[in-house]
Symmetry: D3
Subunit: 336 residues, 6 copies
Amino acid sequence: MERTAGRVVAFGEAMVRLTPPGHERLERTTRLDVTVGGAELNTAVTLRCLGVPTAWVSRLPDSPLGRLIDRGARAAGIDTAAVQWVPEGEGRAGVYFLEEGVDPRPSAVTYDRADSAMARLTPGAFDWPALLAGAAALHVSGITPAVSDGCRVETFAAVRAANAAGVPVSFDLNYRSKLWSEAAARACFTELVPLVDILFAGRGTLRTFFGLDGPHEEVLRLARERLGVAVAVLSRKRAKASRAIRLSSVALGPSGEVAATPWRDVEVVDRLGGGDAFAGGFLAGYVANPADLPRALALAAAAQALKHTMPGDFLAATRAEIEAATTAEEGGVLQR
Amino acid sequence: MERTAGRVVAFGEAMVRLTPPGHERLERTTRLDVTVGGAELNTAVTLRCLGVPTAWVSRLPDSPLGRLIDRGARAAGIDTAAVQWVPEGEGRAGVYFLEEGVDPRPSAVTYDRADSAMARLTPGAFDWPALLAGAAALHVSGITPAVSDGCRVETFAAVRAANAAGVPVSFDLNYRSKLWSEAAARACFTELVPLVDILFAGRGTLRTFFGLDGPHEEVLRLARERLGVAVAVLSRKRAKASRAIRLSSVALGPSGEVAATPWRDVEVVDRLGGGDAFAGGFLAGYVANPADLPRALALAAAAQALKHTMPGDFLAATRAEIEAATTAEEGGVLQR
Amino acid sequence: MERTAGRVVAFGEAMVRLTPPGHERLERTTRLDVTVGGAELNTAVTLRCLGVPTAWVSRLPDSPLGRLIDRGARAAGIDTAAVQWVPEGEGRAGVYFLEEGVDPRPSAVTYDRADSAMARLTPGAFDWPALLAGAAALHVSGITPAVSDGCRVETFAAVRAANAAGVPVSFDLNYRSKLWSEAAARACFTELVPLVDILFAGRGTLRTFFGLDGPHEEVLRLARERLGVAVAVLSRKRAKASRAIRLSSVALGPSGEVAATPWRDVEVVDRLGGGDAFAGGFLAGYVANPADLPRALALAAAAQALKHTMPGDFLAATRAEIEAATTAEEGGVLQR
Amino acid sequence: MERTAGRVVAFGEAMVRLTPPGHERLERTTRLDVTVGGAELNTAVTLRCLGVPTAWVSRLPDSPLGRLIDRGARAAGIDTAAVQWVPEGEGRAGVYFLEEGVDPRPSAVTYDRADSAMARLTPGAFDWPALLAGAAALHVSGITPAVSDGCRVETFAAVRAANAAGVPVSFDLNYRSKLWSEAAARACFTELVPLVDILFAGRGTLRTFFGLDGPHEEVLRLARERLGVAVAVLSRKRAKASRAIRLSSVALGPSGEVAATPWRDVEVVDRLGGGDAFAGGFLAGYVANPADLPRALALAAAAQALKHTMPGDFLAATRAEIEAATTAEEGGVLQR
Amino acid sequence: MERTAGRVVAFGEAMVRLTPPGHERLERTTRLDVTVGGAELNTAVTLRCLGVPTAWVSRLPDSPLGRLIDRGARAAGIDTAAVQWVPEGEGRAGVYFLEEGVDPRPSAVTYDRADSAMARLTPGAFDWPALLAGAAALHVSGITPAVSDGCRVETFAAVRAANAAGVPVSFDLNYRSKLWSEAAARACFTELVPLVDILFAGRGTLRTFFGLDGPHEEVLRLARERLGVAVAVLSRKRAKASRAIRLSSVALGPSGEVAATPWRDVEVVDRLGGGDAFAGGFLAGYVANPADLPRALALAAAAQALKHTMPGDFLAATRAEIEAATTAEEGGVLQR
Amino acid sequence: MERTAGRVVAFGEAMVRLTPPGHERLERTTRLDVTVGGAELNTAVTLRCLGVPTAWVSRLPDSPLGRLIDRGARAAGIDTAAVQWVPEGEGRAGVYFLEEGVDPRPSAVTYDRADSAMARLTPGAFDWPALLAGAAALHVSGITPAVSDGCRVETFAAVRAANAAGVPVSFDLNYRSKLWSEAAARACFTELVPLVDILFAGRGTLRTFFGLDGPHEEVLRLARERLGVAVAVLSRKRAKASRAIRLSSVALGPSGEVAATPWRDVEVVDRLGGGDAFAGGFLAGYVANPADLPRALALAAAAQALKHTMPGDFLAATRAEIEAATTAEEGGVLQR
């Protein structure tokens, strides 16, 4: 891996995403659209859109699907040199199917990721001190420790190495009920979150796993006090319809300062990856200037909104486009 | 035909549906999406989604398009053993083109069904007492008698055989102005509806053909009293936009009990087949327990709503998904 | 060119339009949909939908893309006999890429039209008196004079020839900032608009280029008085969302009479070409009966609304469909 | 219809062609590719590629499919002003399905053209003397008189009008067994062919309908002597495989001169329309210079070969490309 | 399961097949075509094309992909009532990816079938005496016992039940090296083949697993003598190119009679499923008349050839089409 | 740019390639497939497939199409850090259209690359000593100096810097008649080739530009002696049909040793990029071991053959697949 100073290191699994076009049911589709996605990789892609060098640490099988994932990450500008390649028979490429519903039919994500190369990770697989040398941040989500016991142990190894190296740890508190029980997740999160510097979380997960409740700012304040994180960030979504949502966000900084973005209308082409883009936008602002919380949150909200306007898990946008979206109300038609 | 006890028998024509993708005008499209549809078959498919065995009685040409229709029905789990196969030169497969408009452009259905194998049916073609033995219900719509004189005569034969065998007759009062005049339809409906047990109808058709008017429940009560049906069911639609509608429904049961579902928002991927799915959902509830009107109506409303969220005339959903949709307000993203 | 009496002559450039399907970003698309578009040609196509014979005057390279543009125009019923064909090496076919965004991502039009066959036009290329003999109107937009110096000079030649022949000149005051500066445009428009009979303009361009401001009718009145046009027409758009807009329009006639269409909801499949269809609808009404302003404006509004409901720059609709849309509120499903 | 001097007038039916992509069986396809085809129209399109103005005389329903056929013809440069438009309910648009097989599976053409607007033609529908005034040739195939009794009578009217006006009649002796019996066809052809000037025919049809047999040149000589045609042209095909064929041709001119093209290899993207393009190429050469038989035959062979290399019934090629193909052995890669 | 007398029962796994279109590499495709395949199911589909009722015995997860496989089988006319449905979390749906290469790039089949519902079968899952009552034959391939230990044990249970019931056992000696070792396969086949009545095998597998060698008829004779099968059938393939092959076959009957089909050219649209269709064609002839070996072999060869001319694992053809293909040399264009 | 030791540096322009699917003519296509290509970049991609690190030196506009090209290169594993980004208005992204013909229709490449960011390169734009430090080779083709005067001057700068640094220069003697005259090319090549170490050329170009003629080995020997190159490599193609070719090659090494690969059959999915892949395969072998000429030539032939079996300009293959193709005759079906 290229050791670019100031790079953000993301650790997690990515999968091949297969989506029936045209809102068709998976059970009767004759075609599938193929893209790549994974929470931490998605976040890294947004960071890269904003010009932050990013390295993705993961494991992939040396198979066509493994290479497909690697190609997708590289096309988006991610440094994949730290990916470990596993012989084809020793771990699958994770796959997930996305059925895109509209109200009242839910979109459905069906994972087929058991026995993946990532899940079969043996603790100690990665040399974290080397990987994190000079890094601007380490980013992990709550999915990575859920993938397997090995991944959980390795997540702690990564986070502790970051703590030791003084590299800020960013953590998105995602919970995937298909991967582990609430109890197992709570045990892990309870140990992990205090090692974290920047916490992204929804109100529901903060309540479920840490019993934090109250108005938004209060919840963030509790998170900072009780969980010991420096920065706590919360994104809110209200659905007007499955293809038209409203988003807003609040962040609480190290010195207790609060930033917020107002509710804005967002039209939805693709439901997935919005939260990951939000984290990526925030981190890009944060690593540039930790003191400018409103700026980080504005980038987060813009990246999240833009992500929803395009297909796939990944954001594709220039820094200029994201900047423009920090203020834009509606899209219009741009001549260029 | 497999004589599964408790099966519902549906009688009507199905056609090949050809749809230009992407809201393109038919006159300039370079591609057509191919599916299968037909009012009674659509209803049968919903019944099958809900676990009710269904047999479809119809006629098809022994041609590629005839086989395409049969394949579509069988893929959806319908028993097509009672379909009569007609030599290729002695009747076409009906075709219809669907142009999907958005406001203010109407969607347009162009039928090309003249001289179809079904239209050329000679009365007496089917052995109704045998086909209906042990059936839970017979389902027909107002389209079947409109297809041709032969079909009209055969519809009466089917309905009378059901009456004789004590099999409940379900009738969806559809009117297709392209197939016959209002006068001809009125003459037929006036004779047919009194032979029916369960009547699905809109307010407009009840007014046009039977002069029934008034508030919804009153109209249903009039239908029951004057037309002699045991159960009368009415579905209401309000368009917020061509891709966003509101639906509700009311039913009046044999002992005068009323059930209703509240207005709910539904986003529309495909406009067709909703009413047919509604009838299918209701019938599935009804044949399971004729006394539980609210349950039947809830399944009807859920099936109808779900149908609108996917392409094609046919619903594709599991019983569990339909059950979930009886209460769901919005879809969200389901992890599984 | 066939010299059909009563034909409308449109002068301008048309291009190949390339659009990534499914709202994908251009930078990562693997497919492009190919259509044809150009402001004046788009207007001509709407005129032809309404039964008005139209001739398009332009230049195209004798290349596959040049022929593609010609085929598109001819398929839509346009007389392209007056198009000048340029050897393949002496001028490109203009191309433009359209990225279809949804809020808050703007749709983006990227032109690649430099050095086109049209841009390389040498003044005097067309015999305007001959082309305009017996014509019902000449239509040009503000884009044509912006394409190149040659095109600007030729635009004046065309307009003056029309003036001389007593052929009404219709002008759509479009401004393309990528093609020329505001100052250059103002210089041109200031000289050109007084030669015009029917002016289509938005409030913004009237303010920018002529300093006209005030309520809508007042602005139109100022346009007529100060700019010397006989008829001034203004279309207004309000976006509820990128795929749901509201449209209305106002026109001021030669004797000071005012016509207006109320705000109506329009769902959007494709954002482009709406204004061009508006001009086409108005002109079709105007050339049939200049005195019936409300009729012309109703056709304009209907054509504009319908255009938005289908993909591509061109309207495809019959006269009957446009007539129906002058009153329709919502589309529904039409059986035929 | 524009009465361009030197134009070729083609009379016949055209249909919407629906083809499952990827060699899929029609009975299980989910998509259809839409193009337009019809023997005489196909021939007209090749004439137009070679710069010969062409007018197509036919009948179409005023329906989306009717307009689709008209658009296809116009896009290819054909003058469709003489087409008669029939109200939507008084005649269908013919449709045909093409299944593209590879050996040993035959390609299958399934016609659905009964009751078409063309089939319902009433004799006397067209003013042939006016339509043929100044025409360079009239082109008909053996399909037109087979479509219906009305079409047969009208074909004779057209041919006799051409005879009277001194317009050469070109006739392609196609036989469609689905449309009429061999006996009916023989009765018609026996009366029609003596009125013809240029006869295109295969050896099989000459044997079947006229009992002509022997070596190729001998058969042509017999055709000329016994059937009284001025020019007789014969195309031969040998299949190496379904996607690789060999073609050659022979022609016998008015003064007994013989021209021939050698066997050449042709790779096949689409099997249909080759013979129609052959006739178009020959006619283009013939109307330019009836004395140069080798030239006409070379254009015929080139147009036929090129047609097979592209999808659809229609050739799309410039005159230069067809000229180049009169000599080319293999395609290679052309830089331009 | 419907207990149709004379039905053939097929036992094995089927999977979702995902194929990049256009010969694209899997690692960079953006789309996948979705079909269904599995050796025994493929054979059953051919039997059904030839009018033989067939039941498929297998296990599927109650998931979208499980239902997709079931729909595919039912669309093809297969009775799937005996399929056992497994809760979504207790077994996956097998998936396989097909990369279609052309020479010199091999086509590549990548299986992802570990932990499938079928693989997790517990011996004793099926009531074979009931399933086989009245059956005309039981068909299994060498893949079924390779899927898992449970499947191997169940295969023996099925075969022994057939032996006990006097139901002929048909066995296709397929070897999948990815599923088990040669030694494990040999142990199984050595025990299994003597229980078999009709053996389909290639020369390579007969040599590898049983040491049989020599000319074709001799090998078949040895198979019959040493392995104790009543009928032995062998199919041979020679590739001229990846899309053009030659096929022939030989069979040895119970009384030592030999039948053979000559080499024939076949063009290839899809490489898979040919051998399965061959077995299906043979069995259809055999169960109709075991004494007519040439007839059975002719149907086998025709079904195999036709299968290669269409996409997907499944044959789609009518009995008439297969009959026609028993003699056809080349396809041509069929009018109908 | 990452300065990986042993990397190969490629210098040249890449373009967006737009291809109508299904062999459709460009002038009537409604869709275009989008890929990326450019001679030197194509070669770099093959090197990367074989595990050789590669850097691509070029210029791209900061526009969607510029980013599309960069994404394509990065997805294929190329280091694009040395690409210079030009503001959107100061240079286009080159585009080329590919029409895929079959015999006798030629495939046609239509370039639209004038005024590209690369063409507008100002000499001195790149710091070649830095870019080439530690490089294993510099690769350029005859296209790069043809793009513009600036590119020609910069090509010499690059080559001379390589000479100075002792980095072997690889040159593919491509001639594009659309970019410059034969005379201009000869002047350039005459000066450039003597600075080259490894020369790839066809017999035609060696004859045209250097007057070298004779048997293949003799021509190579003359090239080495008269042009002063260390290694001369020649690839030969014979077309059996447009989709079936035969390839062979010969190379002459520094000490006069000769290597050759025999004629082999290759089926063609895509005609472009084969020669570039050939150069890439050879270079990969050469930089690993310059002494093993047969090995380098075998990799060249295998890469070239594989390239033809897949769509697009780029090879996608693993080292293992290329190794396997050095010997494979036909593809077959690979289970994995």
